[in-house]
Symmetry: C2
Subunit: 205 residues, 2 copies
């Protein structure tokens, strides 16, 4: 074995495969990732990747999982360090989620589009996505206690919020939201409407 995991002939081909696949996805979508082409680009043969990933799906799943990790860290940063009130920070988490998706459309699509990944060992992916969800649940629990948010099942609240931001990101990525529209304003209005619908009120219906 090697101390630096996987550095034989090529020099950490596994990492190179992950990086190159991510590049190809960003450039031309997940459908453009081909075992043969990725080999060509890295100067190895077509079968070389099979020494590091069981099949193409496994490679794509690993790339997608890395995307979830990046997204998770990004949300944590907002939660921890952004300025503004507590509820405002929650709202900004939603904004940041959508921004991540808009900045990495093809990667985001891969993360959620199980169609591209023929059903297989996707528990790893589901778990990666779930980690983000659990984090969101905790945030809602916190805000229920601090009084800004209605005391409902926080898991349900988290699903509702997740749905809204994921849906907005998804529709935009698929080109369903016309470019003439103000996407930043739309992100803002989405997160605001959500919060408005979940906030505790003193009076009125």
């Amino acid at each position: 074995m090697t101390d630096q995991a996987g550095a034989y002939h090529h020099g950490d081909l596994r990492a190179a495969l992950l990086a190159e696949a991510a590049t190809m996805i960003a450039e031309a979508g997940a459908a453009s990732v081909t075992m043969r082409e990725i080999g060509r680009r890295l100067g190895v043969s077509r079968a070389a990747p099979y020494r590091h990933f069981a099949d193409k799906t496994a490679l794509l799943v690993a790339v997608a999982a890395a995307g979830f990790d990046r997204l998770k860290r990004r949300l944590q940063t907002v939660e921890a360090g952004a300025p503004g009130s507590s509820l405002e920070r929650l709202r900004r988490m939603g904004e940041e989620y959508v921004r991540f998706a808009l900045e990495n459309p093809a990667h985001y699509r891969l993360m959620y589009g199980k169609e591209a990944l023929t059903r297989q060992d996707l528990p790893a992916l589901r778990e990666a996505a779930n980690a983000i969800f659990e984090q969101l649940v905790e945030v809602f629990q916190t805000h229920q206690r601090s009084g800004g948010i209605k005391r409902q099942d926080p898991r349900a609240q988290a699903y509702v919020a997740w749905s809204a931001v994921h849906g907005l990101a998804s529709l935009w990525i698929e080109g369903q939201i016309h470019a003439t529209d103000d996407i930043d304003g739309l992100i803002r209005q989405t997160t605001r409407t959500l919060l408005e619908g979940m906030r505790v009120r003193r009076r009125g219906a």
Copy 2:
């Protein structure tokens, strides 16, 4: 030309292709649709479909467009004929949207997953989706006038609502919402939170 469009050797192969493709999608997902397999099932050769559709993408686009038509009619039915107050009808439209998606998961995924359909002449699809959107915009305009809904840009409101229901459907279809959860309750809570966030209020912040 024929009076009954396309009824030569086979007897309306075009319609048969659309129907069989839809069946295959429901059975095993869009990835299972193959020009050769669909030919086998219909008893024609592998190249026969090319007389009716330019390529595989064109066939899938047509199937997806048919899905949008079905969805649109279903929503119109709710809007026109459901019982309950005006705002309650709006909420039920959202519920019905999600239900359609849950009943036809693979088809719904095809309708929005442009990844499966290599970028090409998808204006037809976008337009089909847009027809539903425009319908939704009108509903919001109506409810703004009748007083239940905040007077904001109705297009933005429609996008927010669409995002929420599409996101919920999408997450469920991709298996991100745990089966132990009460999906019907979640649909309800999603539509309620949305409406709550958009409704006009007399007092309170």
